[in-house]
């Protein structure tokens, strides 16, 4: 096969293309961009997200700790942004945030110690799971096309309750079952849920008055699904054989 284009203009990284795509929806729904550090305290990465010490999610094996610094980790998810933002901004609020996260996991074609996530948080007086469902559907259709079939089922994350997972019908086998969807016909794409009252309270927000939802996904994972990129290690390799295809 032949790829003919001679380089005239440059190329955005496929991850950037995804986030720009997503930001279009987020902006239209009123979501602002929030930022938070990659080098984080135990407090914001775990404690305030309802992940206490000795919780299995805290296992030494999964988290990178920093030599010589107490209670400091490389953030394991971008959710560290939630309480940081809530402490400094009164509700109602809608934010989206994204970036690198780190987990002590062996590297292979679908796993990296350093990968990326994006997440959204909305807190208001009348936010419901129905709103969350609607937002997830909008989001997934933007990513995977108008005909994308979505399924929402129970999930568990310490910082949301109810907790949900969202799957999209496998576009490779149209639900018949194949290697991509591990023969289930569905591909897991997002984690979501209603913000846990403890998290709202940790952010200084009255959970009897305010409620919210949050949802997020592995950013590379979305790019891999959408564009058919088959090796996660390519994203951080600087390899133009990836980037220049986009």
């Amino acid at each position: 096969m032949h790829i003919e284009k001679i380089q005239r203009n440059g190329h955005l990284h496929p991850l950037t293309l995804i986030i720009r795509d997503l930001l279009e929806i987020f902006i239209s729904l009123g979501f602002s961009i929030a930022e938070s550090p990659e080098l984080e305290s135990e407090h914001y990465n775990f404690d305030v997200l309802n992940i206490p010490k000795n919780h299995p999610a805290r296992d030494m094996q999964d988290t990178f700790w920093i030599k010589g610094r107490k209670d400091t980790v490389l953030r394991t998810h971008v959710s560290n942004t939630q309480v940081r933002y809530m402490e400094n901004n009164k509700p109602p609020l809608r934010i989206v945030y994204f970036g690198k996260v780190f987990r002590s996991e062996a590297t292979d074609a679908t796993h990296e110690a350093q990968f990326r996530q994006f997440e959204a948080l909305a807190v208001g007086e009348d936010i419901t799971l129905g709103n969350l469902k609607w937002t997830l559907e909008l989001f997934l259709k933007k990513l995977f096309g108008e005909n994308a079939e979505i399924r929402i089922r129970p999930g568990y994350f310490p910082f949301v309750e109810p907790g949900l997972e969202a799957d999209v019908a496998c576009f490779k086998c149209a639900g018949r079952g194949c290697g991509l969807c591990k023969h289930t016909g569905w591909i897991e794409v997002l984690g979501a849920g209603m913000v846990h009252p403890k998290v709202l309270e940790a952010g200084g927000i009255d959970s009897t008055k305010w409620r919210g939802f949050a949802f997020g996904a592995g950013w590379e994972r979305i790019a891999m699904l959408k564009y058919g990129i088959d090796d996660i290690r390519l994203f951080s390799s600087g390899d133009l054989r990836l980037v220049n295809q986009f």
């Binding site: 790829i3 080098l39 419901t128 609607w134 390799s237 220049n244």
Partner: protein, 648 residues
């Protein structure tokens, strides 16, 4: 946590036929846990279920999973097949003395059974264990395992004759103590590990593994049963420390309700009498050390809040019906309900947990999606993102490719305590090292990429000793294909000036945040992104930053096989369309020709010269020179077939 369940064992717990495996798969996935795979053999079907971490308290046990299925299907569960047994009348059976020395043992129930006969289990029990994935040992041990799998309560049996004085103490190991496990492993114990001990020393590692000293053998006649509850964190630590993980430790690690211990003891007693008892068998009273009894819990649930969180319009009846199916006793309290939570549902602690129960049992698929309310103001993208996107666009429109490199590197100011690899143990303190690697890597692929000059940039975080900051770097490096006259450093200077102009700041200002490095491997500039941003005005609007066309094509997998380069140059009459030449080359080149790059053009004596670099690559093998030579011959022949075209 993925657990494999036997369909036939699940079915045996019900008073009525279970739906098909497929139907169960569907119900469980949508309302409880994802079914990740289904296997069938001639004997049974096996459903692998991803039990959510917060339901490992109960649903690792068949009975509680069955309870879940009963909620979803309405099929009645049979009561568990045991009768509570009282101690044998008229005969004194010494019961064990139990001393619990630490609250980490939350409950310890024990009893002695005399005159059992140890032998093979009956076929039904052997078959059930086999299909549940548990090896059959003997009838006593099998009974304890069976009850564990069904109720999620780990149990243990000791040979009573080998427990000195029938005196059991739950205590931390003493310095120097060790234990030979049932598997024949000698484990050195330390003072942080909880043990079950008799006056002679440790008999078992609490909640994890039994020792061989009081092992049940064919000669065993009297037994001591243990149905206990140990603190989840201490079991997990002990299991990790000694490197042994068992079905027992797995369950305790996820915290089980101490209330289950009583159920476990009653069930196993009855079962042992059935499979190993006789007219001679005698059972003692139960000893139950339960210092901090689990108080029965109830939570207030407001139907109004259920509807507000879920976005539904449930009537009170809709909600109480679901709670009823879940076996949660409900008492009206004004506008709300006081809901009694069964002890094994440790996951239900606050109202939100109950709201989840209602939502999931009802079915999230049945809840209507409703649009978010309008926001009203323009959202704030932030100065950082605004300029970041602007810079990305400026550079990409000038022919640069955006890269992202690893943050975990072999050197830096901040070190990782527990790195995964020797060369990924520091956090990067600059971007230029990564850019250099990218330039080097991509330069070798110049022909394949069709890129005579590699131009990359990255905007990302770096970690200086003092702080995490955002940095920005660009790199330029010629490949062997480059025939131009402009030096890399000149293009770098030009792009930096162009950037300054587009951002509206003086060149010298940008230069003041910029560090430039030149070597034979290219030129790199690293710029203090944060200082740059600080010098720029706050954006008035974010409207123009985002528009980008979303590509719809799919990535073409990279071939792991090497590519071969060839050049072809030809003279053509003036006025010949370049596209014609390229079309011919592509057509003759075939699918192995993955890239053609025009790298040189000049005019001589009224003729035009075009020189192309061709890159060939296969996806399934290394190409040979012979193969490529043949293709080149065809290409040459095709080109020369045109009048006035002369290949050089």
């Amino acid at each position: 946590m993925e657990i494999r369940f036997s369909y036939s064992v699940l079915a045996s717990l019900f008073d009525g036929a279970l739906p098909s495996v497929k139907e169960l798969e569907h119900l469980l996935t949508l309302h409880s846990f994802e079914v990740t795979s289904v296997l069938e053999d001639k004997n049974d079907s096996y459903i692998t279920i991803d039990i959510l971490p917060n339901r490992a308290h109960d649903c690792l046990g068949y009975y509680f999973l069955a309870k879940e299925i009963s909620v979803l299907t309405g099929i009645t569960l049979k009561p568990l097949p045991f009768e509570k047994k009282e101690s044998s009348a008229g005969v004194e059976v010494t019961f064990p003395s139990v001393t619990v020395s630490t609250p980490l043992c939350r409950r310890y129930i024990s009893r002695r059974i005399n005159s059992v006969s140890v032998g093979e289990s009956p076929a039904w029990l052997r078959d059930a264990l086999l299909t549940m994935g548990q090896k059959s040992i003997n009838n006593i041990v099998d009974a304890t395992n069976y009850v564990m799998w069904i109720t999620n309560q780990p149990l243990h049996a000791f040979d009573a004759a080998k427990v000195v004085d029938s005196a059991i103490t739950i205590r931390f190991a003493k310095k120097g103590e060790s234990i030979l496990t049932l598997d024949g492993k000698r484990i050195e114990l330390d003072t942080t590990t909880l043990t079950i001990a008799d006056p002679d020393g440790p008999l078992a590692i609490a909640g994890v593994k039994g020792g061989v000293r009081a092992e049940i053998t064919r000669e065993t006649s009297d037994i001591i049963l243990e149905s206990a509850n140990f603190d989840s964190v201490s079991v997990r630590k002990a299991s990790q420390k000694i490197g042994i993980r068992t079905e027992s430790s797995k369950r305790f690690e996820h915290e089980i309700s101490p209330e289950l211990a009583a159920l476990g003891m009653d069930f196993v007693t009855d079962l042992i009498l059935k499979v190993g008892g006789s007219g001679e068998t005698r059972i003692s009273d139960v000893v139950d050390v339960y210092a901090n009894k689990d108080e029965s819990r109830s939570i207030i649930l407001s139907p109004e809040r259920v509807n507000r969180i879920l976005g539904t319009e449930f009537s009170d009846k809709d909600i109480t019906e679901i709670l009823d199916r879940l076996d949660f006793k409900v008492d009206r309290e004004g506008e709300s309900y006081q809901v009694q939570i069964p002890s094994e549902r440790i996951d239900i602690q606050i109202e939100a947990d109950l709201i989840e129960e209602v939502g999931r049992v009802w079915g999230y698929d049945k809840i209507k999606g409703t649009p978010l309310s309008l926001w009203g103001m323009e959202p704030n993208l932030g100065k950082n993102y605004f300029y970041r996107a602007k810079i990305e666009d400026i550079l990409v429109n000038s022919g640069f490719s955006q890269i992202e490199m690893y943050s975990l590197v072999p050197k830096g100011d901040i070190e990782i305590e527990n790195p995964l690899a020797e060369d990924k143990n520091f956090l990067r303190n600059n971007l230029k090292d990564g850019v250099l690697l990218a330039l080097r890597h991509n330069a070798q692929y110049g022909d394949l990429l069709g890129v005579p000059r590699v131009k990359v940039f990255e905007i990302g975080t770096i970690f200086k000793k003092s702080a995490e900051r955002v940095s920005f770097a660009l790199g330029i490096r010629n490949t062997k294909l480059y025939r131009g006259k402009e030096k890399e450093s000149v293009e770098l200077k030009n792009i930096l000036n162009f950037l300054a102009e587009k951002l509206g700041i003086p060149e010298e200002k940008l230069a003041s945040y910029t560090e430039v490095l030149e070597s034979e491997e290219g030129v790199i500039a690293e710029i203090g992104f944060e200082e740059l941003i600080a010098s720029l005005p706050n954006p008035s609007s974010y409207k123009d930053v985002l528009r980008v066309e979303s590509p719809t094509h799919r990535f073409v997998s990279l071939s792991p096989f090497p590519f071969i380069s060839r050049d072809i140059a030809l003279f053509v009459p003036e006025g010949t369309e370049k596209e014609l030449i390229e079309k011919s080359i592509v057509e003759e080149g075939g699918f192995l020709l993955v890239r053609q790059t025009l790298f040189d053009v000049f005019e001589k004596e009224g003729k035009m010269s075009y020189a192309y670099r061709l890159a060939f690559q296969a996806t399934d093998r290394t190409l040979t020179d012979t193969e490529i030579n043949n293709i080149m011959k065809r290409v040459t022949a095709r080109l020369e077939g045109n009048p006035g075209w002369q290949v050089r």
